[in-house]
């Protein structure tokens, strides 16, 4: 009877191996858990979008800015438009994107430029005499929209919607096209 109870040598080593594996794993994790978690370095968050509009013939430039200091957190974002656009004027637009949860701030514009063929800025105006067109192109010669041209018409007030579409493998240059939305902000603008 006693003989039967005794596992063979290979069997014993099998049992020993697995029990020790789990014991070691448990101990490692217990020790690892002693370490406190660190705050997350959120690299991907976009906190700030700044659209700088510079009149081609000289004059006052206009800045449209969206700033949300905690990303998706509960702190309310702040939207500012520095002033009105002049009627019948052409502006050069430039978008900069930042992640200001990091120090120094992360340059998201560079990330978008690096993946220009996966990204597309779309601009939709309503009630305002304004046309926006992308000036820059990606490697497939499709529009990108970091650099834009804004042409104003007669005096009016309305909104311009700025959308950044993330379209890996889906970009055709048409808005909105396939993919997902990484930015969608409405600015109230006045042409005077």
């Amino acid at each position: 009877m006693k003989n039967q109870l005794k596992p063979s040598d290979s069997l014993r080593s099998f049992i020993l191996f697995f029990s020790s594996t789990f014991l070691v794993a448990t101990l490692l994790l217990v020790m690892a858990c002693g370490d406190d978690p660190k705050p997350v370095n959120e690299e991907e968050v976009i906190t700030t979008m700044t659209l700088t509009l510079t009149p081609v013939g000289g004059g006052n430039s206009v800045t449209l800015k969206f700033y949300d200091e905690d990303g998706d957190g509960s702190i309310q974002p702040v939207k500012t438009v520095s002033g009105p656009l002049a009627a019948y004027t052409t502006y050069e637009g430039l978008i900069t994107l930042l992640n200001e949860t990091a120090t120094p701030a992360g340059d998201i514009t560079a990330e978008v430029k690096n993946e220009a063929s996966d990204h597309l800025f779309c601009f939709t105006t309503s009630n305002v005499n304004l046309t926006v067109n992308a000036k820059d192109k990606d490697s497939n010669n499709l529009p990108l929209g970091i650099e834009t041209s804004w042409v104003t018409g007669a005096v009016s007030t309305g909104t311009v919607k700025v959308v950044l579409r993330h379209q890996p493998g889906e970009k055709t240059g048409n808005c909105p096209g396939g993919g997902d939305t990484d930015i969608e902000v409405d600015f109230n603008v006045t042409v005077q």
Binding site: S8, L11, T26, C33, D36, E42, D72, N114, H166, D180
Partner: protein
């Protein structure tokens, strides 16, 4: 219901009028159930799984199976307080069969002791999937297979992620017992399916009431018990091979099992098992469901020792899966979601592929179990179980800047479980006392993800003691139990993602159960159970934080208010369920049915409530906050089997549930709609070389959920200020499907190969299912044809 389906239904009903077929399967098998010493046992359950028959022994312990076809069968007999016994019988059988059952605490030399402690209460309502049922479901995920049981449903995330729902409850309210050990994974997530390989199971039981006394607060909504075949049944070497092929997603599923003895004594037995699955994109009648492929590889090994009055089992298993999530279901903002809700077709549809791209889930679950039992003189049977599990969940998203190779969520959960119980029995009185301890460590790998985790790191130690006692008096069995639990929980989370705080809690809570089983006659039985159970909210319900991409919503825990993190234990209220469930069971010669009614009142029921809308750089998002309310879930399940004649049998099952938030007078979300399924089977005992031939047709009918929350379309979210529950789209309409199955056994060498051909959604109907979270984006899968082969072999 379309006209075509209506005609199918008529055709189907007409079959009842067909004349009785030839009486080839008219053999009877009679016998008597006794305990040692010759005392007869009335009310013992006897079943022959191969013939789909189950009866209860009469008052004198006698039983009669009728309408059996010639062949070899396995008869299983079980009775409360006795060891289950299986007997091999050949039909036709001459003379009476005597089945002797051994009491749990005593040993008979000729009785096979399975080394398994009792798992469910006698007064509980239990649904069962037996080996034959499971063979017909091979290749399907666990949660989908369980839908065969009335009252059990599933919340789906696409065609391959199924989360079981028992009487309207799911996630951390349901316990899965995987080969005797409680499954410790990330149960909280609605898109997290159980990390279990259904190929290991030879039977699955679902307890539809609270089994918190035996298993603790995780079992507040029910228990799913997955049982592999017992070790120690094989004499030399044997095994099993299974293959399944599925047309819809061009999936192949294979499994192999080998078992045998070590040495000559047959006291040491072993088993090794593995299964592999690979499937590509599913498709609906109109389009491909792009990126819904899956790959799975599982293996397990068991080693058992069975001595006189003692036994030991070591079990290891590894579950590894990678599942694609429908590409079009990834939405970054409400406009994307609005477009998906209103468009008929998902925006991303590509050609079929086996490739898995983001978004996807990758899950690894490793398990080690060591269990043993000892028969202690004058005390009873002592069961000791230790289990260690390591669960790794990685979720991949579509990310910017080359980060898509890094998981967006990476969680590791290590858990250790110790269960000790002592089963005792003295005359008509039996019971069990026990202790459970669970130690868990949950850790986020945020250094890889660089994303704020949805649930925080935590450590948890739960300990519980319980007592369950039973008294049997002729026709009546009474049962009562109580349990006390203590839980220590330490959470590590951040305020404003900057300041680490470590709130710690100590929860004490009780559970109790009272039940009876009464045998009106050998064929009619009533079971009734009242259970009161409580649980403290889960970490996910307390401290969740973040954006859920699948639903385009921000979720916040009970103990979060915006950026503020609450730590006062006085604010936490325990959820308490009071459930009464009754089942009437009739097992006649031709007709058998069971009918259950239940009423579950839950106070401080934890749920997600719309709270606010929040403006982000991607536009507005709804904010859902965990909240507590008083809810009622009540309903009924019914199952009916009618052996019309020796050839035809009719099966029907029905379930209906009414659920409401009674405190706030509102609906609850994800409550399964009423459903009924009718099936007709035609059997031919043998035809040439084939045996056990059957054809069956079934029509599942699912009604529309008319008590779904009100609808607020995503585009209307920014203007929505109500705190009432809402859904992004109306509940889809009801639907009826047509499924069919043909099966037979074919002799191969000296064993039989079981072949099943089946077709689901044969009419290729386009429909959406209320319980599928991806119904905002796409239709359900179209017709699906499957072939399943199963071969068992044993060396003599």
């Amino acid at each position: 219901m379309t006209v075509r389906q209506f005609f199918w239904l008529i055709f189907f009903l007409f079959q009842f009028a067909l004349p009785a077929a030839a009486q080839q399967c008219a053999h009877t098998l009679t016998g008597v159930v006794q305990m040692e010493g010759g005392v007869t046992l009335p009310g013992a359950t006897l079943s022959i799984a191969q013939a789909g028959k189950q009866i209860i022994s009469a008052e004198d312990g006698s039983f009669t199976f009728e309408g059996l076809c010639p062949g070899a069968y396995t008869l299983t007999a079980h009775y409360v307080g006795f060891e289950k016994r299986t007997v091999q019988v050949k039909v036709p059988h001459t003379g009476r069969l005597t089945v002797v059952l051994a009491q749990v605490s005593t040993q008979l030399e000729d009785v096979v002791i399975e080394g398994e402690p009792q798992r469910t209460s006698v007064s509980q309502t239990v649904g069962l999937l037996q080996k034959e049922d499971l063979e017909a479901l091979h290749g399907k995920p666990l949660g989908e297979a369980l839908k065969e049981i009335p009252g059990v449903n599933a919340i789906q995330t696409g065609p391959s992620i199924f989360k079981p729902v028992i009487h309207g409850l799911h996630s951390q309210r349901i316990l899965i017992l995987n080969n005797g050990i409680r499954q410790e994974g990330q149960q909280w997530g609605i898109e997290h399916a159980p990390e279990v390989d259904p190929y290991i199971a030879s039977n699955i039981e679902v307890v539809k009431g609270a089994e918190t006394v035996r298993y603790g607060s995780d079992a507040i909504g029910g228990v799913i018990i997955i049982t592999p075949p017992p070790l120690h049944e094989v004499k030399k070497l044997g095994g099993e091979l299974n293959m399944g092929l599925m047309s819809n997603n061009r999936m192949g599923a294979f499994s192999a099992m080998l078992e045998g003895n070590l040495g000559k004594t047959s006291q040491w037995t072993w088993r090794a098992q593995s299964s592999v699955k690979r499937g590509g994109d599913y498709h609906t009648p109109g389009y491909n469901l792009s990126n819904t492929g899956l790959a799975e590889l599982n293996f397990s090994g068991a080693l058992g020792f069975n001595g006189t009055g003692k036994g030991l089992e070591i079990y290891l298993s590894s579950f590894n899966t990678e599942i694609g999530i429908l590409r079009a279901a990834h939405t970054e903002n409400l406009n994307d979601l609005q477009q998906s809700v209103v468009s008929e077709r998902p925006w991303y549809v590509k050609d079929f592929t086996y490739n898995l791209a983001n978004p996807k889930q990758k899950i690894n679950h490793q398990l080690l179990k060591v269990s043993s039992y000892f028969q202690l003189k004058d005390l009873g049977r002592l069961n000791i179980l230790y289990g260690a599990q390591y669960n790794q969940r990685k979720e991949y998203d579509i990310r910017r800047g080359g980060r898509s190779d890094r998981p967006a969520l990476s969680l590791g959960l290590l858990s250790n479980v110790l269960d000790v119980s002592l089963d005792h029995e003295k005359g008509s009185h039996s019971g069990s006392i026990g202790f459970n301890g669970t130690l868990k460590f949950n850790q986020n790998d945020t250094e890889t993800t660089n994303i704020r985790p949805l649930i925080p790191d935590y450590q948890q130690l739960s300990t519980g003691v319980f007592i369950l006692e039973k008294w049997r008096r002729k026709k009546l069995t009474l049962e009562a139990g109580a349990r006390f639990d203590h839980q220590y929980l330490k959470v590590m989370t951040f305020e404003n993602n900057q300041t680490l705080i470590k709130p710690a809690f100590n929860f004490n809570y009780f559970s109790g159960t009272l039940g009876l089983a009464y045998l009106f006659s050998p064929t009619l039985r009533l079971v009734s159970n009242v259970g009161v159970s409580s649980r403290p909210p889960h970490v996910s319900e307390l401290y969740s934080e973040g954006l859920h991409h699948g639903t385009g919503s921000i979720e916040e825990g009970l103990m979060r208010q915006g950026n503020e993190v609450l730590t006062d234990q006085g604010l936490i209220r325990k959820e308490m369920s009071k459930k009464w469930i009754n089942t009437l069971q009739y097992t006649g010669k031709k007709l058998s049915f069971d009918f259950s009614l239940y009423y579950n009142a839950i106070s401080n029921y934890v749920f997600l409530r719309p709270y606010d809308t929040r403006l982000t750089i991607r536009g507005y998002f709804p904010v859902f906050r965990f909240d507590q309310t008083d809810a009622v879930l009540t309903g009924g399940d019914a199952g009916l089997k009618w052996q019309i004649n020796s050839r035809f049998s009719y099966n029907s099952k029905l379930s209906y549930i009414y659920a409401r938030d009674v405190e706030r007078d509102d609906e609850l979300i994800f409550i399964p709609p009423g459903q009924i399924e009718n099936a007709l089977t035609y059997r031919i005992p043998s035809m040439g070389k084939l045996s056990d031939l059957f054809f069956s047709v079934s029509v599942p009918l699912v009604l529309q959920q008319t008590r779904a929350p009100r609808v607020v379309y995503p585009q209307d979210i920014p203007a929505n200020t109500s705190h009432e529950l809402f859904d992004f789209a109306p509940a889809p309409g009801g639907y009826a499907l047509l499924n069919a199955r043909i099966g037979f056994r074919l002799p191969v060498y000296d064993r039989e190969l079981t072949v099943t051909l089946s077709g689901e959604n044969l009419l290729n109907k386009s429909y959406r299912n209320y319980m599928n979270r991806l119904r905002y984006y796409a239709d359900e899968t179209g017709s699906n044809f499957m072939i399943r082969l199963s071969y068992h072999f044993y060396k003599h």
